[in-house]
Symmetry: D3
Amino acid sequence: MIAGQARSALVLSAHSGDFVWRAGGAIALAVEKGYAVKVVCLSFGERGESQGLWKQPGMDMGTVKKVRREEAEAAAQALGAEIAFLDLGDYPLEVGPEAFATIVDHIRETQPEVLLTHVSNDPYNRDHNLAHETLLRARMVAQAQGNKTAHPPIGAPQVLMFEPHQSEMCGFVPNLLLDITSVFDRKRKAMECMSAQSHLIEYYSDLAVRRAVQAVRNGGARSITHAEAHQRLFPIVGEELL
Amino acid sequence: MIAGQARSALVLSAHSGDFVWRAGGAIALAVEKGYAVKVVCLSFGERGESQGLWKQPGMDMGTVKKVRREEAEAAAQALGAEIAFLDLGDYPLEVGPEAFATIVDHIRETQPEVLLTHVSNDPYNRDHNLAHETLLRARMVAQAQGNKTAHPPIGAPQVLMFEPHQSEMCGFVPNLLLDITSVFDRKRKAMECMSAQSHLIEYYSDLAVRRAVQAVRNGGARSITHAEAHQRLFPIVGEELL
Amino acid sequence: MIAGQARSALVLSAHSGDFVWRAGGAIALAVEKGYAVKVVCLSFGERGESQGLWKQPGMDMGTVKKVRREEAEAAAQALGAEIAFLDLGDYPLEVGPEAFATIVDHIRETQPEVLLTHVSNDPYNRDHNLAHETLLRARMVAQAQGNKTAHPPIGAPQVLMFEPHQSEMCGFVPNLLLDITSVFDRKRKAMECMSAQSHLIEYYSDLAVRRAVQAVRNGGARSITHAEAHQRLFPIVGEELL
Amino acid sequence: MIAGQARSALVLSAHSGDFVWRAGGAIALAVEKGYAVKVVCLSFGERGESQGLWKQPGMDMGTVKKVRREEAEAAAQALGAEIAFLDLGDYPLEVGPEAFATIVDHIRETQPEVLLTHVSNDPYNRDHNLAHETLLRARMVAQAQGNKTAHPPIGAPQVLMFEPHQSEMCGFVPNLLLDITSVFDRKRKAMECMSAQSHLIEYYSDLAVRRAVQAVRNGGARSITHAEAHQRLFPIVGEELL
Amino acid sequence: MIAGQARSALVLSAHSGDFVWRAGGAIALAVEKGYAVKVVCLSFGERGESQGLWKQPGMDMGTVKKVRREEAEAAAQALGAEIAFLDLGDYPLEVGPEAFATIVDHIRETQPEVLLTHVSNDPYNRDHNLAHETLLRARMVAQAQGNKTAHPPIGAPQVLMFEPHQSEMCGFVPNLLLDITSVFDRKRKAMECMSAQSHLIEYYSDLAVRRAVQAVRNGGARSITHAEAHQRLFPIVGEELL
Amino acid sequence: MIAGQARSALVLSAHSGDFVWRAGGAIALAVEKGYAVKVVCLSFGERGESQGLWKQPGMDMGTVKKVRREEAEAAAQALGAEIAFLDLGDYPLEVGPEAFATIVDHIRETQPEVLLTHVSNDPYNRDHNLAHETLLRARMVAQAQGNKTAHPPIGAPQVLMFEPHQSEMCGFVPNLLLDITSVFDRKRKAMECMSAQSHLIEYYSDLAVRRAVQAVRNGGARSITHAEAHQRLFPIVGEELL
């Protein structure tokens, strides 16, 4: 829980753009429903996901990181989320013990009801896998009663895996089609902040339409025009059959 | 939809006991929430699941079926559900074209928001598989606009698969742990109606406790004492991350 | 082999629209490369996939079938393929012994190098499953030396499964991204013949763009603008590593 | 149990050659250990697995079946097993209600401790799948207390799936490497009875050597020179960790 | 092999309680059959699995470890096993090169016929995964002829994975139901030593009853009242079909 | 691309023998087709795969490595490939940051169209898994535009996984049966260079025959006498249905 707010969520993003393309709708929706959402970016995607910037003459690493940070901050703001950057490097991402402890701290401080991250096995991008593994490990450590840190242990938050670029190649099977119709304008705005990857804006807008068609086919209201696919890792507990 | 009620569910049970042991909690819960629930029993389990009766001297098929019908009716009443019997035979169950049309009719008449049935692949019991396949086929046929029958086509109801006897052998992975604490007394009463399989009462009561422990471990309230595991077949559509 | 042509392919389509949406690009591409392509439609999709027609006042089954036939014939012509209709009924499709023998005959007469059909397990549409199973069975029977019919036995043609509507729900994992850029105009024309399902035209056009982006990501030429995803069932035999 | 013998096994073979190539070692081993083994051949493989015979001038169906029967009888004798032929046709195999009842009778009469058959999903040969499905269904029906036939119900025999021709394509994962060193000469003799498929003798002899190398790698004695791979379908119950 | 004993087994337990709950029956059974059994605990579970202790006022890490060690020693004694503690930390567990070499040494010194450990993928507890991976790596290194240490290389011991807390979520499919009826009193005694997790005693006692019911259903003797589920990782080599 | 040659391939081999047994045919075939092929050996297999050498009296590590290097060089020469040795140790293999950077350099320098390596999950040999993971990570890092090294970024080369020793235990499903008939003499020569593992020569020669039989069964020319099984990881992009 973030101070003064009833519910919260935390997103662990391997690179600073992932949370926008893959979970921007979920984030905006959660914010709309009163969640405090914190995004933790493990890296800026500075080496592997900034081709637009590297094509510019005289580009250097410091500038790439700076631009990527600013873009991600703007996107987070558009979505209504807080954002933190751990700057752990990308391609390959590496998560050492200190960084790991920081992630556990973020989780404990946030006391999230739900955690969002990548799938476990993306053959194209092993940084995504590491983010997934890191999240599961950090969730476990954050739960441990005997692990004494500034913030208290967490309960057992759900984990949502957001959609990878080539879903079938990653074993992704959506079991939640989020209706993001009411917040798609925010996701669009957030995507438009990402100049380094602007070729993806139409791609992910089209995907939202495609997932919306499927949402309707799965019993959703005909008014759904944009959706986002996610996969819950753990069983839901509740009293509702639907 | 059943006349006069806002929401409804339909359960397709291979044998007349299955809906009690495996979905009794879900049924009672749905009823409590205002659903009209209809159970359709494909057979009485008269040959394969009535060993208690067959041990009695002088038992014959007519009597077995009669007893099994009465027990199932009593169990359905305890749960608050309607019940219908198709008497298609068991071990092996066979579903011919006429029976299939009747099942489609039941589904269209009920207009269910959710359908409950067996898993797709139980190596111990192929009647269960046939019930699963029949449900998916009947759902599809009930949806067809060009299939003109007494009742209108249905939408796209969710399908819940209830827990098989040996879950891991059947590829069952629960993604819904239903909190049935508030209705467990009803499930217990329904189970107590099933004299032909009374050895299962403690087994399934213990299982409910076991699933409740897991429900709490997955973030459920500590007050949960009984739960039932189910697996949703299709993605959920909605606006909630949890 | 079709008389006078060196190579041939056969498509087994559960409903008369499936081959257009899901394999239109593959068909047009094969035709362009000199294959003779025969499409065998098991049904017209008259009950389950003609909602556009059934919404018209006074519509009847005979008219629906007639329109669906004409549309499919026009689409096949646009793609450059032959087409045959077995009129076996849909929702549910049923394939009796006589129809099965006819399918075997089509396969033997065609002597295809490649067979195209649906995936094996589509939870939304069991007619698709039956088409898949029928194809594998018919392939086997067409191979049998001791099965004496008008045409000689076939060899061991590859089987391509085309993309289902909700790929991840059907266990579809593409291992072939067909570059259909050069023939997309033909697929588009074929799709435009399908008035009963015209809402799908943009959907499948967008999908082709999406698969093209993925094709480029998997090493395809940057000039690829439209692609179609397929899954080969059997190993490829050859001398090329790529 | 077969009269006068303590233990028994039953093999359900889709075609009259399958039990020789794929389970000949298991059968001979069981016989050596005192099992009575009964082989039930659903068909002669007369259309699909008798290419050697069909190449002979003037061959006709009656002769093919006769030769196949004689070969299979000789092979069964070499292995020490009884054999029965149901002559249900092959490519495609069909199992009607009467044939099914006969299979249940064979199982009840035999009272087997173990059943052997094909895998569940062979994309090359759907007759194999049908044999698998038939076995599981017949096992279930043979267990039913309320199914009154000449022989009493059976218990819960293990099911072994023998190795298909292209194991990886059929989802076959061996969990039992049978040491058939002591009986390989019998399997070889049995294989040599199968003139219609003589090209397979070296193939399956080499396979036995290959599986033996793997058996040693999995902790078997270095003296193992021939082995056969099988997959148990159900859990083993016992007191041994190994 | 442990000096003076014919057969031996080694258990690799992530936390000091795991071997009791999940493999206590297997251990007691092995001891009863003359195996020497050594348990190697990678950690005390001091941070993540000692909530009972941490609730006590003034508790500190040294005391938790001391209590957990004493409890595990008492449990091992009740089961008849030797025990060693590596104290590598938990939540998260970490296995460095030195600890790894120690584990290899334990395995070589023991010369086990069978190794027991956790499953490969427990989404709730990544320490379990690391124990699994460590075991497979250490088994491989212990086999290497060119790896010269105080003890000789091992052969190819079987690996048993014991049952995780939420079996279906971990891909656990039991293929061995161990009849632990004759030793359940010892397992119960061992469980009663674990004061820090005493809430689990009834849970795992009930589980043993449940697995026993399944054991009987899979052909076990009706006298089985308690069982433990395990999954063998490698094929069995032998001459027995059952 | 290697200077002066149009196409190239890179093989990442955990131990210095793996590329010979498992990919020798693919390498020779690629060379025959004009590819420049570079083999990168992560270790010499000096501890775990040199049992023939270690049996010789007075053997030491330096000599084992020297012999293994010479054998692998001779084998590479027989196949027509370049070879490099990283000497990272085996059983267990370890890949530190510097070695990782070297692998990335090899890949960028080679600019391969195709990469060959081990499967992802071999329960018998975790060095193989690490080679697989290392390859995928290095491929990703070699692609990163912002990773500035001596050689330019690569495109998106295909990855082939070669056949592990016990294919079914490793989840290996071949989707490419390479016809190596024309180059098998070269593979045989290369295998004969491996004196430390000479027991494998007949094993892998027989395997090539076995895979050839399967290649013919999958539609390959009857002239195929030797084949090698591989599994492509990524979809193929192209215009050919076959």
